[in-house]
């Protein structure tokens, strides 16, 4: 097979948010490899990907995940390393919206 060396530039792509059903699909497609968290410059604490996935969609949000969600600045560094092409930034955005709706956001 001929290698052209072409690599699509997804790192700097700007995209809008996703709906909760799309986020849910992506969460179910996550293979839990942790690459997104390793590439993230915002996460300060050791968070496991299964805890993050579990708390993203619904249910209570623990303090480390809440701190990570607030610290996430949507740089998109987590998107490029994902081996299955998921958008962790969109998942984090849904988590942020949940937090905004849950508490003293407005």
């Amino acid at each position: 097979m001929l290698k052209t060396g072409f690599k699509p530039r997804v790192r700097n792509a700007v995209m809008l948010h996703k709906t909760v059903s799309q986020v849910s699909q992506e969460l179910h497609a996550c293979i839990g490899c942790n690459e997104c968290l390793l590439a993230c410059p915002a996460v300060t604490e050791s968070i496991t990907i299964d805890v993050l996935n579990r708390e993203t969609l619904s249910g209570p949000i623990s303090a480390p995940v809440a701190r990570f969600s607030r610290a996430c600045y949507q740089c998109g560094a987590c998107v490029a390393p994902c081996p299955v092409g998921l958008h962790r930034d969109a998942m984090m955005m849904w988590l942020k919206v949940r937090m905004l709706r849950a508490g003293w956001g407005e």
């Binding site: 300060t44 949000i61 600045y73 956001g105």
Partner: protein
């Protein structure tokens, strides 16, 4: 007791306020910056009082220049290399590297500022220093934007999604579609069945199939065929375009003073949904705008870093041209 406190702490963090507390991970780096600045300034004051040669090309000036350049190189390359390398990385390590990047950047700027010894002549070194100051300011503004813009994006996304998290535009569009279908059905009831009245040719309205609501949905039957081709031909009989004065007609297009002339009067609720739709579209545009701010500010910071690097190299070449002949003739 400790377990309870931990549990309370874990369960107590909800919400996403505009000025949220980002944690105390920066405290160690702030301490390092403080100690570094204090050492640099104390040495600067001591050297200024005990030496007659207070210039950028004095021993102290060169020391400041070398230390400051090293700090800036650390700031530039440690974080970049750490970001690109994937070896033995642990979760949270990049954030630590980012904090050190800020720490070294600030220390480098302070030491290079001290290296100037108050000489701000319009030369290469001054331009390089201005570049560094702009770079540091852009970095701090970028960190501020990194906190503010995602919070603003979240507010806009909150407007764009329904309570259950689905697309609000789709929901509103479905409601609008339902209104349009409803109104089309209502208008069908106004259509007069052909052959029902006398002179029915003028009022027989034929609705088009499908949910359409504009005036184009009704056409005058056989209108084109009954129009006389000869313009000189005049008849006193009513033409198909004229309405009979005797027949009862529904006045579909009201005059300006009528209540029906009000926008949305014929489609109750539609105007509200349309303005809601426009509001969501504006929210999405603002979301995109904030995302572009995050993206392009980062690019701007990198461009400034490259410019500063070029100015620094220019200054080093200039300083080398002055310094090397002096060193060679000693």
């Amino acid at each position: 007791m400790a377990v309870i406190n931990q549990r309370e702490r874990n369960n107590g963090e909800t919400g996403y306020s505009l000025l949220f507390f980002a944690g105390n991970a920066w405290f160690k780096r702030f301490l390092v910056i403080f100690v570094g600045v204090v050492i640099g300034v104390v040495f600067y004051v001591w050297y200024s009082q005990h030496s007659s040669d207070v210039s950028p090309d004095s021993i102290a000036g060169y020391s400041y220049a070398i230390i400051g350049t090293l700090f800036l190189l650390f700031a530039a390359f440690l974080y970049t290399l750490k970001r690109r390398s994937h070896k033995k990385r642990i979760v949270g390590q990049l954030h630590t590297s980012l904090n050190w990047h800020i720490c070294f950047g600030v220390l480098g700027l302070v030491f290079l500022f001290l290296h100037s010894f108050g000489n701000f002549n319009p030369r290469t070194g001054t331009y390089a220093l201005y570049g560094m100051i702009a770079l540091a300011i852009s970095g701090f503004v970028g960190r501020f934007l990194d906190r503010l813009a995602p919070r603003l994006i979240t507010g806009e996304v909150h407007k764009s999604l329904t309570v259950i998290g689905e697309d609000r535009i789709e929901t509103i569009s479905q409601k609008l579609q339902a209104i349009v279908v409803h109104n089309t059905q209502d208008l069908h009831s106004f259509a007069v069945v052909p052959g029902e009245t006398s002179q029915n040719a003028s009022t027989s309205l034929v609705p088009l199939s499908g949910p359409v609501s504009s005036d184009f949905s009704f056409i005058h039957k056989d209108q084109a065929l009954q129009t006389p081709w000869d313009l000189a031909y005049i008849s006193l009989e009513a033409t198909p375009q004229e309405l009979s004065l005797e027949a009862n007609h529904y006045r579909f297009v009201p005059d300006r003073k009528s209540e029906l002339a009000r926008p949305g009067a014929l489609m109750p609720g539609a105007q509200e949904h349309i303005s809601e739709l426009q509001e969501v579209e504006r929210a999405m545009q603002r979301e995109l705008f904030y995302r572009y701010i995050i993206l392009y500010w980062r690019k701007f910071h990198i461009a400034l870093a490259l410019l500063t690097l070029a100015l620094t190299i220019w200054h080093l070449v200039y300083a080398g041209q002055l310094l090397i002949p002096v060193l060679l003739h000693r």
